[in-house]
Amino acid sequence: MSGETLLKVQGVETYYGNIRALGGVDVEVKKGEIVSLIGANGAGKSTLMMTICGAPQARSGSIIFDGTDITRMPTHLIARMRIAQSPEGRRIFGRMTVLENLQMGAGLDNMKYFHEDVERIFTMFPRLKERINQRGGTLSGGEQQMLSIGRALMARPKLLLLDEPSLGLAPLIVKGIFEAIKKLNQEEGLTVFLVEQNAFAALKLSDRAYVMVNGKVTMSGSGRELLANPEVRAAYLEGGHH
């Protein structure tokens, strides 16, 4: 599994105004891996994901993607480096149809692979095909999540960032989405960096994982190790939230 490094986040500090959200984070994602980042609300998981995308930009530290320093790059150029994101809250285009949403994802290659890729995504998420001309805003939560992932995949990414794909979805749909992610990783070698509160599902899926507390990475290891770790179990797997 451990190939060459695709994404290297080193000592990244991010601020919202004067409030430090990330206090020197180191994360590494290798090609072909599924890496997940787990942690409680407000730990800075989404902030790290957004910092990788350049909004907000890191105040210090560096983010290297595929040999290029992207720390100070504007978001749209980072996206053109083939980092696709399914952002928190899905952020699909509500008044545009499913097909148009997918079209927006295919802009990087000037629609060259559009038909091919649309078919691929419809095979993965047949529900989207049924709703092809329906407006994004009228889809159910799970369908919107599928659309958000599908739209990100249309860009033929080297790295897929997924921010809380299970948020607000029924367990069965979450299972389906996680299976789709696993399949993408195994069959197409897609590298995935996943932020999740649903720690159990995320850890089961991942090759490696990081645990984040108060803007810092406190633990890391293989998914299986962390699943067995008593501290992780106590904090994220048992009791209150799943």
Binding site: C53, A55, P74, T75, H76, L77, A79, R80, A84, Q85, P87, R91, I92, F93, G94, R95, M96, T97, L99, E100, Q103, M104, G105, G107, L108, N110, M111, H115, V118, I132, N133, Q134, R135, G137, T138, R151, A155
Partner: protein
């Protein structure tokens, strides 16, 4: 019960009786309410003494309107509304999607042909002199607003950037033509694109400072921008002659043929009797062509990456960036292309009026254009055209309503009620159709064959 109400054509006696009863009651209520406000009026006579006199006629009109209105409501409107509601409830959701009628399918072609035939038909009915009013007031005036609203639609409807100062670009276009043609004698056909380019340039200038703003903040800055342009026009008297405006602006020519009484003029050349109507008819076709260009460009752009980016930008800016869209250039192109059409319309306006002054470019104009875009349904060209016809044509119609003077007295000027009616119309439309006349968005992408999207799918709740 149901059969009594679902057949509005032959209403049973009970419904008629109820309608009469309610009409009488409404009449009495109106009489009571307005007796003191309308029925009597106090005034001062020559010796400054207060006198009171009755206005039974006016009171009777008020009572009559209320009573008849209530009568019609109960007898026709309520049963009709109920029947419609029932019909909607009965029809299964998917059956709404029926094949459009011939008229609907070819609506745009029919409308275009009707517009092309409009001047000859009017001329054949009213003669050249009589056609002036219809071609100019109802034709050109409306089409200018259609064009302005379509231009603003790119900024507001497609890109979702609320622009309250659109009239500034209209002014830039108008003054570009007015000044460059009177100082340098350049022709309309050369200055039309130049005015558009200059306006687009100003669109970019506005675009830069507002790149990071959205919604309310953006609206306020664009509002200020519109006022700045107007104040510059007023105060830069050396160039613009301030509030006096620029007058005797050269007219547009038809491939070099001027519309005047000279031997080389249009009328002489074709051996026609002299009339100012030719110029107006020419202008009508010119603005019609400009409108068509605007519509064509808008429709084409919507299917291109930039148009899609605009619409995506309206939905979600962050998602746009994460998909590799440069939101800076996307916004700037929206501003500048929208402004360009404003500039075209402006130079046309100057050529038509022969006179421009800052008074034509007040905030009210921006508001009216924006109102047309919103009422028409943001993004929908057809809806906006309909709204422009209703709004501008309605204003012109008010001017024609001389007969109201017989009812309300010779001091009554219906135009003064324009804004009142405008406001009322807006409130009513927004209540009945919160997304404008044509609220549904036409998708721009289809896979293989074009499938109509059922109305039940495209609805999204509220505005």
């Amino acid at each position: 019960m149901a059969n009594a109400i679902s057949e509005p054509g032959k209403a049973p006696a009970s419904l008629l009786g109820q309608a009469i009863k309610e009409a009488v009651f409404t009449g009495l209520l109106t009489f009571g309410l307005f007796l003191l406000y309308i029925g009597f009026k106090t005034d001062q006579d020559i010796s400054n003494a207060l006198i009171i006199y009755g206005r039974p006629g006016l009171l009777a009109i008020f009572v009559g309107i209320a009573a008849v209105g209530r009568f019609l409501m109960v007898l026709f409107v309520h049963p009709w509304a109920k029947a419609r509601k029932d019909a909607r409830a009965e029809v299964p959701v998917h059956d709404i999607e029926k094949s459009p009628s011939l008229f609907h399918k070819h609506f745009l072609k029919i409308a275009l042909v009707a517009l092309l035939l409009y001047p000859p038909v009017i001329v054949s009915i009213y003669g050249f002199q009589g056609s002036l009013k219809f071609v100019d007031n109802f034709g050109i005036q409306i089409l200018i607003y259609v064009m302005l609203a379509w231009g603003l639609n790119i900024v507001v409807g497609l890109a979702g950037l609320l622009d309250l100062g659109y009239v500034a670009f209209y002014a830039v276009g108008a003054y570009s033509y007015a000044l460059l043609s009177s100082h340098f004698g350049l022709s309309f056909w050369l200055l039309l694109p130049i005015s558009g380019i200059l306006a687009a340039f100003w669109g970019m200038i506005l675009g830069f400072p507002v790149l990071r703003l959205r919604g309310d903040y953006l609206a306020i800055v664009t509002l200020a921008f519109g006022e700045i342009i107007r104040l510059v026009l007023i105060n830069w008297t050396d160039v613009t002659q301030g509030t006096f405006g620029v007058s005797s602006i050269p007219k547009a020519t038809l491939f070099g043929i001027p519309f005047d009484a000279s031997p080389g003029g249009f009328a002489k050349m074709f051996g026609l009797p002299m009339s100012s109507a030719y110029y107006k008819i020419f202008l009508f076709y010119l603005i019609l062509a400009l409108c068509m260009v605007t519509a064509y460009v808008t429709i084409r752009l919507r299917r291109m990456p930039i148009g899609r980016a605009w619409e995506a930008l309206r939905e979600d800016e962050i998602a746009c960036r994460s998909l590799g869209i440069n939101t800076v250039t996307t916004k700037l192109t929206a501003f500048s292309i929208g402004a360009m059409f404003g500039g075209f319309a402006g130079s046309f306006f100057a050529a038509r009026q022969g006179f421009v002054s800052p008074e034509s470019f007040v905030f009210m104009e921006s508001a009216v254009i924006l109102a047309i875009v919103v009422l028409g349904g943001m993004g929908s060209l057809t809806g906006i055209a309909v709204a422009a016809i209703v709004m501008t044509g309605g204003t012109e119609l008010l001017r024609e309503m001389e007969f109201l003077k017989h009812i309300f007295g010779p001091d009554f000027t219906p135009e003064l009620y324009r804004m009142l009616i405008f406001g009322l119309a807006m409130v009513i439309v927004m209540i009945l159709k919160p997304r404008g006349f044509v609220g549904s968005r036409e998708p721009s992408a289809f896979l293989k064959e074009k499938k109509a999207v059922s109305g039940s799918f495209t609805k999204e709740g509220h505005g």
